[in-house]
Symmetry: C2
């Protein structure tokens, strides 16, 4: 038998957001979406649930074990609750917006739900928002998207931002160019991803030397680029590094305060990416604020097209913001002419009406947590 | 085997909202929440899923057959996907905000999901937003909440509003006061709810006469109130009618353009209500825009308190609005100095950057659907 208080408990990893925090999160999401809209990204709003196969197609496949499923009585088919919105946006681009001109700029925001939280992200439900720039494999698309994330994060007040850049396909490109066997490629790739110095010491030949240099390159962008610049790399890998250097150089111009790092060997969680990957962090905040990169949207459909985008996660993003500001509330005693309220609201006050007569309007206002009192046609601040 | 296009199909009653429509809906929800906040309602954001028993407690019980369920692997207990947010708000008031001063003003907005749509509301997922004013059984609470819904709907541009008022407990109160037996009470109540003239013709005595008058009262508020006023009613029922008349009179003052009707015998869908119930409609729009009233929040908890509130449904509400306005987009050709873009955005333009050189910037801008072109430091409108 559950007691009322037990009944009220929420499942692990799910929570109620209250009052100023809830409003602050909503306002923050709106500001992010405004930043996206201001750069031509059109909002799409896919449903919370859709057929399982749709959600699990392409990059979504990795989400299978994180996804809640429900049976749809209408179709007798399994539906999933989305764990990520990116795949839904790709689906929309492929179907309903198939004939819209490219590049297609789409933005989204919505709740996602996961069966299990992680160490860094214990929440099982959070708001994901972001953009996809679909149908361009240009260099400029990286610049636009990385800077847009930066603008958006800055616009909502996140300070002390850092950006980590990676090239998940660099090591495969190097190994491919040097005709390295599959097993060695795997060892090098995994060791670099895990930053395992010991493992790399045993790798012989040019690839061993390059791998050790790549490992030492991880860190501040200027140092990393110097090291990458000094490496003798196969052409495709060299192009990747040059593109990365170009991004870093533009960022230094446009966002000089941004702390940029490079991790050339990282690929975990970026398995579907095909170019430069990036992750934003804020100093002292657990978990990344967002990540992005380029991938082949709808690759399995034979109509693949390059998409560059990012997702921001509101759980960690809200942790990077200062406390929610308290609103300016004003108590309007019972019996006040209703016509007196709109002008107060136009001045930015939130009116709290007395529903019954109170002996001491000031005390009643304080009891309700109001910061001002409307009395005799005047606004009195309450201490 | 599903073809790509089949895979992309969404389950019945679920849909993607695109571009201007998606943005317009989001902007509309924000404006509604701004209206609620301006009158002191604090936002709460409960999770999409929680334990089944929580969602089904109290008025939520009626939602059982509409609710998708998932097993929570963490607790090994069933969770439900919410079909309605009102009960979650009551839960928050009862638990985390138990010690907050009353009356408590809470607002909310979020997606709800239902197993099956209805004729009037075929969508299985839609946004519900609204308020609850908890812990006051005052008359003024009705006035505040009914007018707040009116203000909010008007603020987002819904025109031609009508408001239907009902007293779901009026007939029980009359029958109780006249000591009418249970079976006759049931017959009268159901016949009035169904507006079944024939059934009422056979009801004898004073209750028969009153019931036929109540039926004839349904319609325009002034006519309805005249009829109600002429009835000889038991005291509790008389008080209800007087309260209703007072609400109508205030509305006539404050919102003279609002078309008000009264249906004194209606109770369907209002089973949990304890006072005046109200429903907003817009002329020519299928389905109600929202409904509200008073109910006993957390009645089963032995800590019941009166709550007055309403919910608005964004599916029907969006049908009551004019078409979404198209944004002012401006094409900024490839190679434009990035520093030239922010001033354009500050003027309200949405910048769309060229990612690669185009031979004819104007043609490229048109191809992308832009309405303006930025060239040689000037804004040129495109025909």
């Amino acid at each position: 038998m559950l007691e009322p208080n037990d009944k009220a408990l929420l499942p692990e990893g799910l929570h109620d957001t209250l009052a100023n925090d809830a409003e602050y999160e909503a306002v923050t999401v709106n500001r992010l979406l405004d930043s996206f809209a201001a750069q031509g990204y059109a909002r799409v709003e896919p449903p919370l649930v859709e057929f399982e196969e749709s959600l699990l197609s392409g990059p979504g496949a990795a989400q299978s074990r994180h996804m809640f499923r429900v049976m749809d009585p209408a179709s007798q088919r399994m539906m999933g609750v989305r764990t990520d919105i990116t795949g839904q946006v790709a689906r929309i681009a492929r179907t309903r917006l198939k004939n819209s001109p490219r590049p297609l700029r789409l933005s989204y925001a919505g709740q996602v739900l996961r069966i299990k939280g992680t160490m860094l992200r214990p929440e099982r439900q959070f708001v994901q928002t972001g953009v996809e720039l679909i149908g361009s494999d240009s260099f400029q698309a990286y610049v636009e998207v990385i800077l847009l994330a930066h603008d958006a994060l800055t616009s909502v007040g996140v300070g002390d931002l850092s950006l980590d850049l990676s090239l998940p396909l660099l090591v495969p490109a190097i190994c491919d160019g040097l005709a390295i066997d599959e097993e060695t490629t795997r060892i090098v790739r995994e060791a670099l991803n895990a930053r395992d110095v010991g493992e790399l010491e045993n790798v012989e030949g040019a690839i061993g030397e390059i791998a050790r240099q790549l490992l030492s390159a991880a860190g501040r962008a200027d140092k990393a680029l110097d090291i990458l610049d000094g490496l003798k790399l196969p052409e495709q890998a060299r192009n990747m590094c040059d593109e990365l250097a170009q991004v870093v150089s533009i960022l230094a111009d446009v966002a000089p305060g941004l702390h940029v790092t490079v991790d050339p060997g990282e690929y975990q969680g970026l398995e579907f990416q095909t170019g430069i990957g990036f992750t934003y962090f804020a100093k002292g905040v657990r978990g990344e604020l967002g990540r992005g990169g380029r991938y082949e949207a709808n690759a399995e459909m034979d109509q693949g097209e390059a998409a560059t985008g990012f997702s921001l996660y509101l759980d960690s993003l809200m942790r990077a913001l200062p406390e929610a500001p308290a609103p300016e509330t004003i108590y309007v005693p019972f019996g006040t002419d209703l016509a007196e309220l709109p002008p107060l609201r136009e001045q930015g006050y939130r009116t709290v009406q007395g529903l019954e007569p109170a002996n001491d309007a000031g005390a009643e206002a304080r009891r309700l947590g109001c910061r001002h009192l409307w009395q005799n046609g005047k606004i009195s601040p309450l201490g």
